[in-house]
């Protein structure tokens, strides 16, 4: 099918056609949703990979997001591009498909090479930076300058920054307790000593947000933009590299001790919240989000240019 794509792309009058883009998702439904809702192209996800679903939010599925079972059995003529997140298994699969179909790969990075890949607090690093640094797409999209500078590539790889779009602000109706990412399983929370009765997975009950990942993600930005103070556990020095700026500038609060020693009663949440207000953390966080993220129009324009360029560029092995 890729010869058809090569021919279509070579003809000058085909500049405005809708592209068919396969995404290998890695729990980034919100980001995929932003792409789908701002760009007039067709996006595709596998129904599932290795038994795991590729889309967790059926209620927000955009109209131009479609599901496929098999890349060799698709209803449209050809795929133009493949997008993937980070440098782990998703990348490996995307690279394989890219080579099989002779289509260009775009890699989206929200982690620096220091932390290598997104992971939960106290979970071991599964990949080495040396392994990951060899992996890249024709274009690598980075969320910020720190992330971009941390990776180095060959000559044929293009690196650029597209900040995430400003997340939608949420009005918390009933702020009560410490909120954690709903995607995190209870067994993990238990393993790090968090008492379930002090925790909520409902953002409408969030008084403060306990960020347990080692990178800046969509939920972190959403909470900061929604005036929910953010706390992080005491990561090791290497693990909190991507969050260091936020911590040093008082945009988030670092917990001084092991989680069970800090979060041990109902008053903890209230104390941290009051501290955050007192130290102006919420205001600084909102200001950070405004400077870190970009407007939807800018996000759409940058992505549109990137997708057009990558689609028009001949597939070359070796980037």
């Amino acid at each position: 099918m890729y010869i058809e794509k090569i021919i279509e792309n070579a003809i000058a009058d085909n500049l405005d056609r809708r592209l068919n883009i396969l995404i290998i998702n890695e729990y980034e439904d919100e980001y995929v949703n932003s792409l789908c809702s701002t760009l007039n192209h067709n996006f595709y996800l596998f129904n599932n990979l290795d038994g795991n679903p590729q889309w967790f939010n059926p209620q927000i599925k955009p109209y131009n997001l479609n599901f496929i079972k098999d890349i060799n059995n698709i209803e449209f003529k050809f795929l133009d591009l493949i997008l993937t997140f980070r440098r782990s298994e998703s990348y490996d699969l995307a690279k394989k498909i890219s080579m099989q179909l002779n289509i260009n790969l775009i890699c989206i990075d929200d982690c620096s090479s220091t932390i290598c890949h997104r992971r939960l607090f106290k979970t071991p690093k599964q990949l080495s930076t040396e392994q990951c640094i060899k992996k890249h797409g024709l274009i690598n999209i980075h969320h910020n300058n720190l992330v971009m500078k941390s990776w180095t590539y060959g000559e044929e790889s293009i690196n650029m920054i597209i900040p995430p779009p400003i997340p939608q602000r949420i009005d918390v109706k009933n702020p009560l307790s410490i909120f954690v990412d709903p995607k995190i399983p209870d067994s993990y929370l238990l393993s790090i000593g968090l008492n379930k009765e002090f925790i909520t997975k409902d953002i409408n009950q969030a008084m403060i947000y306990l960020h347990l990942f080692n990178n800046i993600d969509h939920l972190l930005l959403t909470c900061m933009n929604s005036s929910i103070p953010v706390i992080i556990p005491n990561f090791s020095k290497e693990d909190f590299f991507d969050l260091e700026y936020l911590l040093k500038n008082g945009i988030i609060i670092g917990l001084p001790d092991e989680l069970p020693n800090v979060i041990k009663d109902y008053d903890t949440c209230k104390h941290i919240y009051e501290l955050a207000i007192q130290k102006n953390v919420v205001e600084r966080a909102k200001h950070f989000v405004n400077s870190y993220c970009c407007e939807t129009n800018t996000f759409a324009k940058l992505w549109e240019n990137t997708l057009r360029y990558a689609s028009e560029t001949n597939y070359i092995r070796g980037y």
């Binding site: 890729y2 010869i3 058809e4 021919i7 070579a10 003809i11 000058a12 001949n314 597939y315 070359i316």
Partner: protein, 352 residues
């Protein structure tokens, strides 16, 4: 007239070399280079991209006025495109195509171009009805003969050379049989085999045992194995007789290179590019019994196979220096004639 060429010209294997040489010829034939665009396709996943010069410009150029589309590849990958006035497919086939979908797809093209009469016949037998254009030979950049120095002690031996594998289709059995039955260790001769097969040496030892010609293996004539087919350019420069008799063999790059270097080339008689040539080896058709699921074309394999007896005869004839001088001038002219003929045919292909 604008031309969009799509082929595996960035690959460095034989498909890539043929594609690159064709593209070079196309550029040479074109009156206006601004009308040429090209795009690469990949068949081989492990090969690095190689590109130079103006091809980079052709890759970047968009086709504003679609006129001629030339696709070069294996039949199942080629797709007709109605936006172009003329669709040309260039392909290489070894066996009949049983897949009716592929044949139907090929029949949509205005012209299908192949590199030998044998391939033309295969396509006709497979049910291809559209016009089939025969180049009669592969394109080749004859000046690009490069070689590394090989440390082989041959003294003043006359040398035959060829690329083989332990697969039947490389005619290894016919070559060994002819060579061993023609010469002994007392003859001042050597056979250089270029091969990436690691077990070729043991294969040859087994073959000697099966032949059982002499009481001692020392009496068999000398064979030198070079563990890389890429080094064959050394022999194009320094050896004497090239053997081009693999099953269904075509006038490939090594055949043309050997002619260009004034080597005597022992080739199958289905290669009909040389007039009045003494070193054609008689061939016959055989239906392969080794058909299996891995057969890409899903069909019985009809092979053109060399006659060992005739190969032996031609080896002896070449060794004895029969008409070497006369043939040398003939061959030198011939390689240029073939090259020129290819250019003329490319012009004809895109102009008609």
């Amino acid at each position: 007239m604008s031309v969009l060429y799509i082929g595996p010209y960035r690959q460095t294997d034989s498909w890539g070399k043929i594609s690159k040489a064709f593209l070079d010829t196309l550029v040479f034939c074109s009156k206006d280079k601004k009308e040429i665009s090209c795009r690469n396709i990949w068949y081989n996943h492990s090969i690095d991209s190689i590109i130079n010069g103006e091809i980079f410009t052709f890759e970047k150029r968009k086709v504003s006025n679609p006129e001629i589309l030339i696709q070069h590849g294996i039949p199942n990958n080629l797709v007709y495109n109605g936006k172009f006035k003329k669709n040309i497919a260039i392909t290489s086939v070894e066996h009949n195509i049983k897949n009716t979908g592929w044949v139907t797809s090929l029949n949509l093209f205005d012209t299908i171009a192949v590199f030998s009469e044998h391939e033309k016949q295969i396509l006709r037998d497979s049910g291809v009805k559209t016009e089939i254009f025969n180049f009669d030979t592969y394109p080749v950049g004859l000046t690009n003969i490069q070689h590394k120095n090989l440390d082989i002690q041959l003294k003043d031996k006359k040398t035959f050379y060829t690329a083989v594998s332990t697969k039947n289709s490389s005619s290894v059995n016919q070559i060994l049989s002819a060579y061993y039955s023609t010469f002994t260790s007392l003859d001042n001769v050597a056979l250089i085999l270029y091969s990436k097969d690691k077990d070729l040496a043991s294969y040859i030892n087994d073959f000697k045992e099966k032949m059982n010609l002499y009481s001692s293996k020392k009496l068999y004539p000398m064979i030198v194995i070079i563990p890389s087919e890429n080094e064959i350019d050394w022999s194009h420069k320094f050896s004497d007789f090239y053997i081009n008799v693999s099953f269904n063999s075509k006038p490939d790059i090594n055949f043309l290179k050997s002619l260009h270097q004034n080597k005597i080339c022992l080739c199958l008689d289905n290669i009909k590019v040389l007039d009045d040539y003494d070193y054609y080896v008689k061939s016959y058709y055989e239906l392969s019994v080794n058909n299996n699921e891995s057969n890409f074309y899903k069909h019985d394999n009809y092979f053109t196979i060399p006659s060992s007896a005739d190969l032996s005869k031609k080896m002896k004839m070449a060794f004895d220096g029969y008409r070497i001088k006369e043939n040398k001038s003939l061959l030198s002219d011939c390689s240029l004639k073939i090259h020129k003929s290819f250019i003329d045919k490319v012009e004809k292909l895109i102009c008609t």
